[in-house]
């Protein structure tokens, strides 16, 4: 059974007269796989990752999403997180007044409680995060800081991958994690993401550029245009897109429609 099965997914902005963004997405992801979705700005690729994470700013109007045998669209954002879906945000949110360690401990324990596991105490939690902080080369002082407050763009992205490593997801959604990263940060972040590459897990990367895919090599590359996946290939498709742009895919699609 596939880990994630998206069938004919339609979604629009949840507001009166909201714009249609996803117009029939079909995608199947198995455990152990890394998928990349590429596309121009406004193609709907970030919306797809947010819809999968349960963001209520979007309304699903048609189609289905099955995750690990469950109807994903029936679950709230927090239930999806506890079931193992993790969204690394394109624009991580600053939350003044809430420290990263308090927040992460609450998150980890919410998930453990959901799975009838004993909650981690302070000592066990510190042990868990120390290991992940080393992985992402993070300064320990960072845990006492308010979530993302005053962080640089690169620090915020690194924080997302750090949280991802701590939360130990089954399906990791990485939404343009590479944007705004310099090459060193990109290497650290990719190393963190690659460490999560196991036969039990799957990763869905949303990206604009091929560069990230040099570091996290995908099994499948999908091209999204106007709310639909129009072409699927292997990592060579990403290279071709980098070289030739998206226009040729658009033309090819126009011919087949």
């Amino acid at each position: 059974m596939a880990l994630l099965e998206i069938k004919n997914l339609h979604a629009r902005v949840a507001a009166p007269g909201g714009k249609d963004i996803l117009k029939g997405v079909n995608l199947t992801i198995d455990r152990g796989q890394v998928h990349a979705i590429m596309g121009k700005n406004g193609s709907g690729k970030s919306t797809l990752s947010q819809v999968l994470a349960g963001r209520e700013a979007y309304e699903v109007t048609e189609g289905s999403v099955t995750y690990d045998g469950k109807d994903l669209l029936d679950l709230s954002a927090e239930e999806r997180a506890r079931e193992g879906i993790f969204l690394a945000f394109q624009y991580p949110v600053e939350i003044p007044g809430v420290s990263t360690d308090y927040f992460l401990k609450a998150a980890v324990n919410a998930s453990r409680k959901h799975h009838n596991l004993p909650e981690l105490d302070a000592v066990q939690f510190i042990k868990l995060i120390k290991e992940k902080m080393t992985l992402l080369k993070m300064d320990p002082s960072f845990m006492k800081r308010a979530i993302n407050e005053g962080f640089s763009g690169g620090e915020k992205k690194r924080n997302e991958i750090f949280q991802m490593a701590v939360c130990n997801p089954t399906l990791a959604l990485m939404d343009e994690t590479d944007s705004g990263l310099d090459i060193d940060a990109l290497k650290i972040v990719s190393h963190g993401a690659n460490s999560l590459r196991t036969p039990e897990r799957a990763i869905l990367l949303v990206t604009h550029y091929q560069r990230l895919l040099n570091y996290i090599q995908p099994d499948f590359v999908h091209v999204m245009i106007d709310g639909r996946i129009v072409k699927t290939g292997d990592k060579n498709l990403a290279l071709e897109l980098e070289e030739r742009g998206y226009d040729w895919v658009e033309q090819e699609t126009a011919l087949t429609v």
Partner: protein
């Protein structure tokens, strides 16, 4: 005449009430002071919403109520209240007032440094410093409630800090009201005189204890006035906790006078009361005086809280900082008016005012009004005001990590308030706010402000 009577409501029971006040010894200056203040109140009556300063706060319900003076008590209920609201060993000195009356059985004077006086004001009228300072800073002409309090002065606290004195722990003044089946009122009065280079931490708590099985309407009025007079280089850290019953009206004025290089830090925490009005006025009268006014208001139901503050920069080179935060749930209402007055010669004034409001319901309402009046030309004055609901982007971020919707909203609210509470140095005050919020918002008990991060701008260092 009839027109005047309609405009200026003075309840007929008011004047006979005065006659019942106990004699306060033979002090002609005090008799004079009270008579003048009372005459002023009789002239003005209670304020109405036609007056600019009372535009958003309607005290008609107070004006219409027949309050009688509250009786002293030290029964089991009083003892329990004193235990519950008291700081125990965490206070150096704790003076307890039940229904406005000093209750020595429940108070503890502690070990005060030589020359430091913490005493009932009723036993202090013979002191020249009291005569010299009482009612010199809280102006009976400006506020009818101050006039009423002054006209009825009978009990409260006098604190005298001699030169260089620095008591080692907080001085806690606890005013507990235990209402009966008749509406009652109290008029607590506090006077603090700090001599040169003295310093102290002073906490005023105003709390209500429900009358329990014996019944009682729960209706009462606390009308408090505090005056703080600081000589050069002195420092006062002041906290006020307003935890009145939700059936009570709480009106308070605090006036502070700062000499040069004196520093005053105030935290005003309001969680109780049906109707609350706090006026805080600070005169920065000497150069390099420094004032911080912070406030936290947590209201729900249909309760109302109004904070009027005035920072009067009457000397050059003075900084002042002000941060008020309101959390308004249900149909509660808040008012913040922050006036900064910079007089003509007060050059190099550096004043920053911020008001932040979190609205937890569509029906809650806030009126926030900065008022800058600047007559000097070389000053830095900033003010900012934000009002809005919990940020849904932030809530989604927390939920996307597995934190439940309600918990995420509570956490955001808690963090919003913690921005004030973490600045407070008095541990029992912080603990009370945490407990209140935990109960109000059903927060996990292990959530403590110390666990919450954030930058430390404006945090006062010891």
């Amino acid at each position: 005449m009839t027109q005047l009577a309609a405009d200026r409501i003075i309840h007929p029971t008011f004047v006979p009430h005065l006659a019942k006040e106990p004699a306060l010894g033979n002090h002609s200056w005090l008799d004079q002071l009270r008579a003048t203040a009372l005459a002023r109140f009789e002239l003005t009556g209670y304020p109405t919403r036609k007056q600019e300063e009372w535009r958003f706060t309607n005290v008609d319900a107070i004006a219409r109520t027949r309050y009688s003076p509250a009786e002293s008590s030290h029964n089991a209920q009083a003892i329990e209240a004193a235990m519950r609201f008291g700081f125990g060993d965490e206070a150096l000195t704790e003076l307890v007032f039940i229904n406005g009356h000093y209750t020595p059985q429940l108070s503890r004077l502690g070990e005060l440094p030589r020359g430091v006086i913490v005493a009932p004001v009723a036993e202090s009228f013979h002191r020249p410093e009291v005569q010299a300072n009482l009612a010199r800073h809280a102006d009976v002409q400006l506020n009818p409630f101050v006039a009423m309090n002054t006209g009825l002065i009978s009990d409260g606290v006098y604190i005298h800090l001699p030169r260089n004195a620095a008591p080692a722990g907080p001085i806690h003044l606890l005013f507990v009201s235990i209402p009966t089946d008749q509406p009652t009122m109290t008029h607590p009065r506090v006077l603090v005189v700090a001599e040169e280079n003295a310093q102290a931490t002073i906490v005023e708590t105003y709390a209500g204890e429900a009358a329990g099985e014996t019944g009682g309407t729960g209706v009462y009025l606390t009308n408090a006035v505090t005056e703080i007079v600081q000589a050069p280089h002195s420092r006062i850290d002041h906290c006020k906790m307003q935890q009145e019953l939700h059936t009570a009206n709480h009106i308070a004025s605090m006036n502070v006078h700062l000499g040069h290089d004196a520093r005053f830090v105030s935290h005003s925490i309001n969680t109780g009361g049906l109707l609350t009005r706090n006026e805080v006025g600070v005169v920065l009268a000497g150069e390099h005086a420094d004032a911080t006014l912070n406030g936290l208001v947590l209201m729900d139901g249909s309760r109302h809280c109004d904070n009027h503050t005035l920072l009067d920069h009457a000397a050059a080179n003075c900084p002042s900082h002000e941060l008020y935060k309101h959390v308004l749930a249900d149909k509660s209402t808040g008012v913040f008016k922050g006036k900064i007055l910079v007089r003509k010669d007060s050059q190099k004034t550096d004043s920053k005012q911020t008001s932040k409001v979190l609205l937890l319901s569509d029906e809650a309402r806030m009126d926030s009004m900065p008022a800058l009046e600047i007559y000097a030309d070389d000053v830095k004055c900033t003010h900012g005001s934000t009002t809005g609901p919990v940020d849904e982007e932030q809530v989604f971020y927390l939920r996307s990590r597995g934190i439940a919707l309600e918990a995420a909203r509570h956490l955001m609210t808690y963090a919003f308030a913690a921005d004030i509470t973490r600045r407070i140095k008095v541990a029992p005050v912080r603990a009370r706010i945490e407990n209140f919020m935990a109960a109000q918002h059903g927060l996990p008990l292990d959530l403590r402000i110390s666990e919450l991060g954030g930058h430390d701008e404006g945090v006062v260092n010891a």
